[in-house]
Amino acid sequence: MSTDVRLRVDGVEVVVPAGCSVAAALRLAGHVSTRRALDGGGRGACCGMGVCFECRVRINGVERLGCLARVADGMEIVCDA
């Protein structure tokens, strides 16, 4: 009974399956790199378990880890990439 969830990524509406992580939602929406490192290089999720902090994004205005957070209807996600 996988229903869908609507959220906005960098202002664009995206529909993803309920229950997935924010990191997965971003990848489903076509984002490969979700933050910029100090040297400008793109970075994306790596460890999958809240250790490397590479997947961090702003969720409803607060910096959080995409791999630990679950999607919810109406979420506003902003990447730094």
Binding site: V16, P17, G19, C20, S21, A23, A24, A25, R27, L28, V32, S33, T34, A37, L38, D39, G41, G42, R43, G44, A45, C46, C47, G48, M49, G50, V51, C52, F53, E54, R56, I59, V62, E63, R64, C67, L68, A69, R70
Partner: protein
Amino acid sequence: MRELSTEILVVGAGPAGIAAAVSAERAGARALLVDMQAEPGGQIWRGQWNNATDRAARRWLTALRGSPVATRYGLRLVDFAAPGLAVFDGADGPLRVRCERLIVAAGARERLLPFPGWTLPGVFGAGGLQVLVKNGWPVAGQRIVVAGSGPLLLAAAATLRKAGAQVLCIAEQTGAADLARFAAGLAPHPGKWLQAAALRGRLAGVAYRCNAWVERAEGTERLESVRLRAGRSVERIACDALAVGFGLVPNTEIAQLLGCELRDGAVVVDVHQHSSVAGIYCAGEICGIGGVDQALAQGEVAGRAAAGSGERPRALRRDCARSARFAQTLRRHFALRDELRELATADTVLCRCENVRYADAAACRSQRDARLQTRLGMGHCQARICGAAGEFLFGWTAATPRPPLAPAPLTCFTEPTSDPEPPAQESA
């Protein structure tokens, strides 16, 4: 600030923490189980809370559902405001928990090692990509190289394949002789042996290469190919993802913050899983890498002991001894080869958060020195990745972690405003 109080606080809801909390309640104590993930299950049972496919997962997750253990998810332990007063950070703000006794079951993370291109999007930990997939990360139709070391590579490859990925090959850095000795060592562990055989079955047709490792990941904005070395030959393989991990490292920072004694990177415990600090028990991978059976047995022992039920039934003692022997077999046969120390070039980033280059880190005497000279390990992940890499590359001993254990908002450290309440226990 929200504040709760409980008799026993269990940090980490993987197999060890679940077994600990459920066993503590069965022995008559009140327990609160907290994890930073959205659901219980830890690494191995990720995504199984609503649909357990594994037998042990079904048994323990059902036990947790039916037990009066109180649970809170999406909260990360970041500090202790005082002994017995833990501070957590979560999406709904901070939470303080007062407890009489503490069981730490924080599990393990993967050891990631630097090589040119390892920071490109599309390069993941091996278990890392596996757990991302368990939470909906799409890999169907993608070409994936799995590399590194240890039995987790097989489990990861099987998950990726089941999710529709094309696993191009599994590159294990260990040599064939050690692998054969490891396989022979599984004989006294029929469960592990069956698991390995089942995995091999699910991976039929996937090339498994030993003495092989990825030297370089290539691509401009994202991963496009890897260079794989196997003995003297080097091959370029075009791929969409690389899942690469070099074994597991215990997450000891919480125990270290509390002053628990460590040996060989793991927390030292007695037969009751009690650490060197009064009232603090530890269970699972943080006491040494040994897999899910060890985590469950140690969790049960810790939960019973913390609840004051000191005797260990014979079956449990046997499980602990057997899983400890398996842990030893694991350590002996997946030692990392020296060539892996030579992969990073002077310009390869070692500290991913602060972008510290390998050459700048290598010029330092210790991790502490590198911290002062280069900011290595001072970024978001607080040396969780580069610290374990530095141990292998330079023989550094990990610097003692400092609070907060993860970046947290200031509100976590302001005085509590509410009186502590007991957490609502789930109905029995």
